[in-house]
Every structure is written in C-alpha cells, then in structure tokens.
Symmetry: C2
DNA sequence: GTCTATAAAGTGATAGAC
DNA sequence: GTCTATCACTTTATAGAC
C-alpha cells in the first residue's frame, strides 16, 4: 500500500526526518512547515500539536526500520549470512540509526507515549537478532561462548555505540572497526 | 585546588548538570538561573551567552570524567584489574556517560568549538583503554584475538551503546548484561 | 482541508540601578 | 559583580477567511 502524499502524510514524513536530524526539542513547528511546504493550519487541523505529530512520525520511523530490516534479512538464506547482512548493510552514520537516534532524544524518551513507540522498534530488533543467534549457534556458525541474549545485547550496544563513538572521536572509520571487531568475536 | 562556589562557578556546574539532563537545545537561560540560583545579570556578565557558558560547562564535565577515571584506575595494580574496574564501576544509567551524553547532543556536536571539547574527552578515554589493552595482552590476561585498537573500539562502543539500548528497551538490567558479555569475550 | 493573521508565552540578550 | 526591568525575537497555538 503506497500512501498518498497529502499534507498529512507530508507532515508525518517531514517530522520523521527532522526528528532524526535535529531532535524534538530543536524542531519548531515553523521548521516542520518549511520542510514540508504546507501551511500552519494543516498542522493543527490534522494533529493536536507538535508532540502529537511527533508520535505519528516516530511510528513512521519504527515502521520503516522494520520494513527495511525485513528487506535486508530476505537477501540471505541462513542465520549467519542474515546476521552479517544486518551488520554490514550501508548506514547513514551522520544521521544515525532510525530508532537509536530517537532513543537518544531526551524529550522523546521522557514522554511515555512517545517512548513506548521507540521501545516497540528496539524490542522488535532484539527479537529478530536473538532468533538469528539461536539459529546460528545451532547451525554451528556462531560461537556459543555467549548465550543468545548476551550476544544480542553485545550486538545492539555495539551498533548503537558505534554511532556515538565515531561522532565523539569525529572519525567515521571507527564505525567499521567496531562492527568488524564485533563480527570477529561472534563468528566461529 | 578546590574552586570557590561563586556565581561563575555555580553557573558552570549548573549548566554542566543541565547539559547531561536536558541537553543544550532544551536548556534555557531561565532554567540555568533557576537551577543555579543566580540572577540573569551574572550570566551575561561572566559569559558571552548560553553557548559560551556551555563551552565551560562541557570542559568541566570532560575534566570530571578524566579526574574520576584516574581515581578508578588508581584502585587497581595491573592492566586487567584496571580494565575490569572501569567496566564494573557504578554508573548513573539514567543520566548517561559524562561525555557520551554530550556526544549525543546534536546542538553541541554541530558547534565546532563545543564538539572539539567533547572529542578531547573521547580521545583521552581511547588512549587510556588502548594502553590498558596493550599491557593486558602482554600480561597474557586479555585475549589477543582482537588488535588493541579493535578491542578498544568494542569497549567504547559497547559502553556508549549500553546506555542507549537500556533506554530504548526501558530496562536497565540490559546494561549489565552487555558489559559482562563484553568482559567475557575480551578476557583470557 | 488549507491558508493567513493574530496572540499569549517563552527564549535569549541588554540596560541601567545598586 | 549582581540584580531587576525591559526588549526583540521565536515558539506554540488559535481564529477565521476561503
């Protein structure tokens, strides 16, 4: 189902992008309107306010994460290749992870309704990776030195941390070093 | 050298805390004044404006990180125990890492002067850990499966990511699981 | 459903008294 | 060096025309 790009959808997708780029606190209604090219009336006709729009924008980003990840998973046959595909897929380091960037936003995570939606994305990712690890251990391609939950946490944290560390050290090459080191320690 | 808590120092330390709690974009001059208990005149007498104060506050947080980490390092004798001490020291998960929280702040990292100060903290941490890994490999207590730089990146990213993932999954127990899994994979 | 005009509240900074 | 008063600007939201 392809969505029409009416004003409502333009606002949601514009806000989804701005939340990743600038964060909730630093995105003003005016920013949203300029970015989306619609008028102020539309915003307050379709949504109760900025935070209400943010909810649907976050939902959009989480749905995108799930959709894109399922696409990547479909490119490989076995658990090991699927895991590699996830870890090696091209990433927009500057912009950050579709859900990680939202989890890093204090204004989003201090609002229970918004935080729940972000958590939905994280929980989905956790389930997918944990399942892959289980299968990979059974298939004897992933080391069983760590329990599935342990390996899953190491993967999720390394991925999320890689964005921060390359930002903090202001050198994107560290992103790949972290991910390839992770693969080395996980694979048999 | 203990600093006097005059208005200038109160502003710096107040801003340092607010940057960790709320971020730069979401902290207003009024927030700073209320938190510090000083008047508006002092702020603009001692500093050029909000971002100027932010610079000194970031510097304060980075200096604190270095000071506290040196204290922790001094509690252990060998490289392996020092590394364990760093990874197992108690952390304020809700507030986040003293420098990681700053590196996650888009408003800070998009300002070159502020970002440089954050990078100083990251680069110091990278140097310390890389040195520990080198010694640990020589002492035969840390696995040499990963090169020192690789292990260092895995440590830094896991640490930073652990804050995000436990926030995203809204369950702090994942923080410890990630760190203990990391130790398991690094130690011989 | 979308736009422009308007307004209350908050932000960031300055002026001037003490 | 610190305070209060003030000001221009932005943010957030509403009203009402089309």
């Amino acid at each position: 189902m392809v969505k029409e790009h009416n004003s409502k959808q333009k606002l949601i997708e514009g806000m989804a992008e701005l939340l990743l780029e600038k964060g909730l606190a630093n995105t003003s209604p005016q920013d949203i309107l300029t970015y989306s090219g619609v008028g102020k009336g539309s915003l307050y006709h379709h949504f109760k306010g900025k935070e209400d729009l943010a909810f649907y924008a976050i939902k959009y980003n989480v749905d995108q994460l799930i959709y894109f990840t399922e696409q990547v998973l479909a490119t490989a046959d076995n658990a090991c290749d699927k895991l590699k595909a996830i870890l090696e897929k091209p990433r927009n380091i500057e912009r950050g992870c579709l859900v990680g960037q939202l989890a890093r936003d204090r204004k989003i995570m201090s609002d229970d309704k918004l935080a729940s939606e972000v958590s939905r994305g994280f929980e989905w990712m956790k389930l997918q990776i944990e399942e892959l690890i289980r299968k990979g251990i059974k298939d004897n391609c992933i080391s069983d030195k760590l329990a599935p939950l342990e390996a899953t946490m190491l993967i999720l944290t390394t991925l999320q941390g890689a964005y921060i560390v390359s930002k903090g050290l202001r050198d994107d090459t560290y992103f790949q070093i972290a991910l390839s080191s992770l693969l080395k320690t996980l694979m048999k």
